[in-house]
Amino acid sequence: MKIFLIVLYTFLLICAISVSFTKNLLRSVLTFMAFSLILSVVWMCLESPDLAITEAAVGAGVTSVLFFVTLKKINAFKER
């Protein structure tokens, strides 16, 4: 169990670091979505499933959709 948690923590760190080093916005938003999915699995390992459902539905779901819509709105301006 401990090893699994350590592996998840390293994935979290990799996602957090890679978000700050990617130049492209779309890629950083996708990495952030992966970050909050892994975080939802970490909540399960920490024995709090309430947080897992909320983080998955809210963190990975709605926040990432808002980021994508903002990116689209900004690119839509740049297109014309």
């Binding site: 492209n24 309430d50 459902i53 539905a57 809210v58 779901g61 839509a76 014309r80």
Partner: protein, 310 residues
């Protein structure tokens, strides 16, 4: 633009995200509006060139170098501080830590008896700390109102200046794959959301997660079938009615304790059998209210960003 180029371009994350310029070109833009937009964008581009002429560069460069150095020092300083603090905290995963004091014992032992909900966390959130969750739902409502103020673009401008170009013209039309998937997925998602809300006091879940799941299902439905379909059942009026009734019911349900004394747990609402759906007194209706508020908030955020209106 062949599909392979588009995928390669999307993978490399170049200019246009995942649809070629054809799809993005707006369908029904009239000439006068296009002229005003062109002039707006051209004006700000000239402004950008003016601000970055050579005179400014030297000053900007020195400021940014100084800023980077100071920021790096500050970040390292904070990191060392935090590490020092964490190293003095009590060891993790031990039960006799200071944090597992009598408060959590009180919640765990009395939780089942007093609120009747087997899920002690839900009992704690919606019965012992009901006002905190009430404030939380108000925070969501205020966030929706603020986003509405910022993103609303359909008010009639006096000087006829073009507001934010409406996003509906740009959305890809009738994507068959998405529609077929949505016809199957959306009912399952909404049903799962309702299940999570209804079983908030029995199994893990509750108002927040169930509402978020339903909100995500609505977003998928709006994405697949366009906003004309969702405007049939979700307009400004429905949002107003849902959030007002949910918040006022929550307030009325929990403010009786102002009259019946400080410890407002002795409500005469029967707690029912521990495992039944209708058990745990007021927790189920409160969960439904919080779930409705969260679902409406999540969907309204998406509506505000996409079409600046409900």
């Amino acid at each position: 633009m062949k599909n392979s180029d588009r995928i390669r371009e999307w993978l490399l994350g170049d200019e246009s995200l995942y649809y070629d310029t054809m799809a993005v070109k707006s369908q029904s833009i009239n000439d006068e509006q296009a002229a005003v937009e062109e002039e707006l964008i051209k004006g700000s581009l000239d402004q950008k060139e003016k601000t970055f002429d050579t005179k400014h560069n030297r000053e900007i460069r020195t400021v940014s170098v100084l800023y980077n150095i100071l920021a790096a020092v500050f970040v390292i300083f904070i990191f060392v501080n935090l590490l020092m603090c964490v190293s003095y905290l009590p060891p993790l995963e031990e039960s006799q830590k200071a944090v597992n004091n009598e408060v959590s014992q009180r919640y765990i032992e009395k939780g089942l008896k007093e609120c009747g909900s087997t899920n002690i966390v839900a009992g704690m959130i919606l019965d012992y700390r009901a006002f905190d969750t009430f404030g939380e739902s108000n925070v969501l409502f205020i966030a929706t109102v603020t986003v509405l103020i910022l993103m609303r673009n359909n008010r009639k401008k006096e000087d006829g200046a073009v507001s934010d170009p409406d996003d509906r013209r740009l959305e890809p039309k009738d994507d068959i794959i998405l529609q077929k998937a949505a016809t199957f997925l959306v009912p399952v998602i909404v049903m799962f959301g309702i299940y999570v809300i209804m079983n908030g006091h029995l199994s893990p879940g509750g108002g927040f997660s169930g509402g978020a799941v339903i909100g995500a299902g609505l977003i998928l439905y709006a994405n697949a079938f366009g906003f004309h379909k969702t405007e049939r059942f979700f307009t400004e009026k429905t949002y107003k009615w849902i959030s007002f009734t949910a918040l006022t019911f929550y307030c009325l349900a929990k403010s009786y304790s102002f009259f019946t004394g400080a410890n407002h747990l002795e409500s005469h609402i029967p707690l029912g059998k521990a495992g039944a759906i209708l058990s745990a007194g007021l927790i189920l209706p409160l969960n439904i209210c919080v779930g409705l508020v969260v679902a409406c908030t999540m969907y309204t955020f998406y509506c505000m960003f996409r079409k600046g209106d409900f």
